[in-house]
Symmetry: C2
Subunit: 238 residues, 2 copies
Amino acid sequence: MNNERHILSAFDRDLEAVQAMVVKMGGMVESAIHDAASALDARDDELAEAVRRRDKAIDALEHQINDEAARLIALRAPRATDLRMVLSIIKISASLERVGDYAKNIAKRSHVLGDLPAIPGSGMALRRMSAAVETMMKDALDSYIQRDVALAEDVRQRDLEVDQMYNALFREFLTHMMEDARNITACMHLHFIAKNIERMGDHATGIAEQVIYLATGGLPEDTRPKGESVPRMTTEGA
Amino acid sequence: MNNERHILSAFDRDLEAVQAMVVKMGGMVESAIHDAASALDARDDELAEAVRRRDKAIDALEHQINDEAARLIALRAPRATDLRMVLSIIKISASLERVGDYAKNIAKRSHVLGDLPAIPGSGMALRRMSAAVETMMKDALDSYIQRDVALAEDVRQRDLEVDQMYNALFREFLTHMMEDARNITACMHLHFIAKNIERMGDHATGIAEQVIYLATGGLPEDTRPKGESVPRMTTEGA
């Protein structure tokens, strides 16, 4: 069985190398979330431009991770849980790529917002929301690397808070639009940004769910509202 | 080499079986797109409810496809292009699952829209847009099954038209909102729906790009605007 042991450890080494790329990609995506929110809040066009430019490197890294994952499968022929670990990397990197796109989109919009009336409190609220998502993303990746199901479960629960932040912001934007038609355009942009941040949270949750699935072979009955919530879009009450 | 030939054809048989599941999933997703748009246009709550209910079967099929793909890899140990074909199935089914979610979301919103003022012309425009996306999705999957790069390239180009439809609709909604604040809530919902349809188009394009990537090992230089476009959000001119 020495031979098998040897093969296993070669697989582990290779897996670690690909996982290191995923961690690197995760770090780049976390920076993108952070900087997109900062650029928006500070109306910093240069930083927004940097976020847009850096998205190319994130996309390139996804391709590289896919190639490495395929190489690993072809070379080491992993089975059962090992194979599932590698396959989940493909899904996780696709999620990260998507989140990078959302950050790029926020950066694009922040430039347009520069010419529009400011909506009081929105910058702060969006920063808070994106900080929550940034931490979720970090913890989701940590839970994957460390196979930490409790942490993954925690990420999954925190998505509910992000959904609530989004719903509260939505009602605020609606109020501003109803009060003054000159706020409509700015609120439409800000609402898109809020929605993009909420979707980032969904992707972090998706990564956390991969971790739970890998560890337990299934997901708890769907207690978490899945996909985007549909606010009733009234300004009264919750 | 008889043995290798035997292994190859067993792989082909297994691949075809998984691809048949992808085609089935594709058909379910196309129906979801179609029915979500019909339910919206006809304010048909029962049909909308059916779309929401059927999304569970789409999600279940994605899990099944992932399991089968993993089984195929473990059992047949495909390499090079064969392996890439199988790995692309995982990505394609993830895209289809996402599109199913968007259709479900449209169905959720169509119920809310029942209580709101009608926005002239919006039902027709959204149906046209979703019909375009439905065909894109069908052709993207056909291009995958038939390894038809020309068809995949065609799908990719058609996404530009969908983006244009979205931009035109966006400006229309903005006009209605500015003209009468009572339209704001309905337009916010309709705009979300338009955005969801546009995102479905992005996913169809993603599948088409997988086909091109599988066949050529790369993508043409990115001439297509990637991700969501950011309309300047003015009502004047284009």
